[in-house]
């Protein structure tokens, strides 16, 4: 079972009022991945239910360090601050939550309740506009508003991360890197900033360091959800995304979870597997497109990773507060890549249309594990991969079209497969079109528009 699925089970148990089961699953997850934000969020919510504000706030601090744009965590912080009578901080956290545009109406409602305003009377701030424009795929507008928002609230790490991402999407890598450093000062576990830095390092020819940094992210985000989401927007990159690890939940926990599910389910409820929707970030991008391959790359001991060629940034750790140090002491810092020796004005390469290597190499890296899976569970996904490996493009395109038509509930898995397919020149046009169809089916029109445009560009290029 993927960690996100286990976290979803814990969320479900929490929602069903089974705190014991939710706690057991969470502890199991955190035993394996100590910094996994969805698990820490569940633990925080459990602590909140148990009136243990300190423990809840500790966990939430870790969650917002890894995911500064997690609106649910901000809303929970707001509730806890309010419970303590710290009205200013409560309102600040609630405003942050609202400005992060939570997808869950309950989160929004909770934040609005603390702000004591109706949704209609909320001012549209620069931070909101930046976020909206970034979500809509307009990074230039997002950058403009994010700069205003940063000047208004320089302490807001989520706003700075939005600015960093806008710059990254615009291909302004030096400026992005500078912002990522500031983000890492405030939120040293920030996964998104680490992914962008890993990509920037690889673009500068320091691929090994970038890869190392990316691998470290697996300690916090074992499914590399954010890495896949960000790197998936690039046509090609040099980084190899490790395979997805799985976690073995004790059978009794799974049984309990199934029992609880049956107890609350409608008689005609859809038996589809639980999706990881609640365990994910504010953008509603769920899960990972990773496959069933089981790899333990990032479960290797920390010492092994530290023994690599990456240098340790000892200075960076000074910026951690005592509180944060306690909360994060067990976790591996992501911000350990050496300071850049080169000038920040080094040649930049836009995220799109860059390096000629990696998606192919990613597919190659995934191949052995896929082959290992063939005997056990040869799915349509495996078949599509097999056809791609065998360069049977027409048949592969047909199978991919079938997969999209089938509208598999595992959205991220389909995303991942199609993003792998677009790395192959022969499949590129059809795969981008299918990706557009898939994005439309799954309610992501802006991503669909981008995919269709890419398909049109590929078609135009082929015609020329």
């Amino acid at each position: 079972m993927r960690p996100s699925e286990a976290a979803a089970l814990a969320r479900q148990a929490l929602a069903d009022g089974d705190a014991t089961l939710a706690g057991s699953i969470t502890e199991r997850l955190l035993g394996e991945f100590a910094g996994y934000p969805p698990a820490r969020l569940v633990r925080a919510l459990l602590a909140e239910q148990g009136n243990d504000s300190d423990a809840a706030l500790d966990d939430l601090r870790a969650v917002t360090s890894a995911e500064p744009t997690n609106s649910e965590a901000r809303a929970a912080q707001a509730r806890l601050f309010q419970r303590r009578g710290d009205v200013d901080r409560a309102r600040m956290a609630a405003r942050q939550s609202v400005e992060l545009i939570p997808g869950d109406p309950n989160v929004l409602e909770s934040a609005l309740e603390i702000l004591n305003v109706e949704p209609d009377s909320l001012e549209t701030s620069a931070a909101v506009l930046a976020r909206v424009h970034l979500n809509c795929g307009w990074p230039d507008l997002a950058e403009r508003h994010a700069r205003v928002a940063v000047s208004e609230s320089p302490e807001r790490v989520d706003v700075r991360l939005t600015l960093a991402e806008a710059l990254w999407r615009l291909g302004r890598l030096s400026a992005c890197e500078a912002e990522c450093r500031v983000v890492a000062d405030q939120a040293e576990e920030c996964v998104r900033a680490a992914v962008m830095r890993a990509h920037i390092l690889s673009e500068r020819g320091r691929t090994a360091e970038g890869q190392e940094l990316l691998d470290r992210i697996g300690r916090i985000d074992p499914e590399f959800r954010e890495a896949r989401e960000l790197l998936g927007t690039l046509e090609v990159h040099r980084l190899v995304l490790p395979g997805v690890v799985e976690i073995d939940l004790p059978p009794e926990l799974i049984r309990q979870s199934n029992d609880a599910g049956e107890a609350v389910a409608e008689p005609d409820a859809d038996p589809a597997p639980v999706e990881a929707q609640t365990a994910d970030g504010p953008d509603g991008q769920d899960g990972t497109p990773g496959e069933s391959a089981v790899q333990d790359r990032h479960s290797q001991p920390v010492e092994d990773l530290q023994g690599s060629e990456v240098q340790v940034d000892a200075v960076g750790s000074d910026s951690v507060t005592g509180e944060a140090t306690a909360a994060l002491s067990e976790q591996l810092r992501l911000d350990v890549v050496a300071e850049e020796p080169e000038s920040l004005d080094a040649e930049e390469t836009p995220p799109d249309g860059v390096s000629p290597v990696s998606s192919d190499s990613a597919a190659e890296a995934a191949a052995p594990t896929d082959e290992a899976d063939v005997g056990a569970d040869f799915s349509t996904f495996d078949w599509a991969r097999h056809l791609i490996e065998q360069s049977e493009w027409t048949e592969a395109a047909r199978v991919l079209a079938d997969i999209v038509r089938a509208n598999d509930p595992d959205i991220a898995r389909v995303d991942g497969l199609l993003l792998e397919a677009v790395a192959h020149r022969e499949l590129r046009e059809s795969a981008w079109k299918l990706l557009g169809n898939h994005y439309m089916q799954t309610g992501r029109p802006q991503a669909a528009a981008d995919a269709y445009l890419r398909a049109a560009n590929v078609a135009g290029g082929s015609t020329e």
């Binding site: 809509c136 999209v404 169809n437 439309m440 089916q441 029109p445 802006q446 528009a449 078609a459």
Partner: protein
């Protein structure tokens, strides 16, 4: 209820229409834009309109019921009715008002209450 392809065929019969795409929310747009944009055209136009809808909704301005635009040689009307959405294009002579009425009736007639 008709399928998207049946509905597309009916929409194409509206006077002045040179291309159309129709889809139910959560499905792939079906249709053709009279050769404009090739096989990607219907998807691209639908997704672009969907993007605008999403932006408008995100900003709290409500849900767009219809969008009309005109270029130097084309008019385009996008409408939503229940679970159905449609985009139609036609020349400058297209009578948008009558197309709007016809499209509204077709979409509404094919919408499942509570779907």
């Amino acid at each position: 209820m008709n399928s998207a392809s049946d509905l597309h065929a009916e929409i194409q019969r509206l006077p002045g229409i040179t291309g159309a795409a129709v889809w139910r929310i959560g499905e792939i747009p079906t249709g053709d834009l009279g050769g404009r944009g090739g096989s990607i055209g219907p998807g691209l136009l639908s997704a672009s309109i969907g993007t605008m809808e999403q932006a408008v909704e995100t900003m709290g301005l409500g849900q767009i019921a219809e969008i009309w635009f005109v270029t130097e040689d084309t008019q385009c009307l996008a409408m939503r009715a229940g679970q159905w959405q449609a985009v139609v294009i036609g020349g400058l002579a297209l009578d948008v008002d009558s197309v709007r009425d016809g499209l509204t009736s077709l979409l509404a007639a094919n919408d499942e209450p509570g779907a």
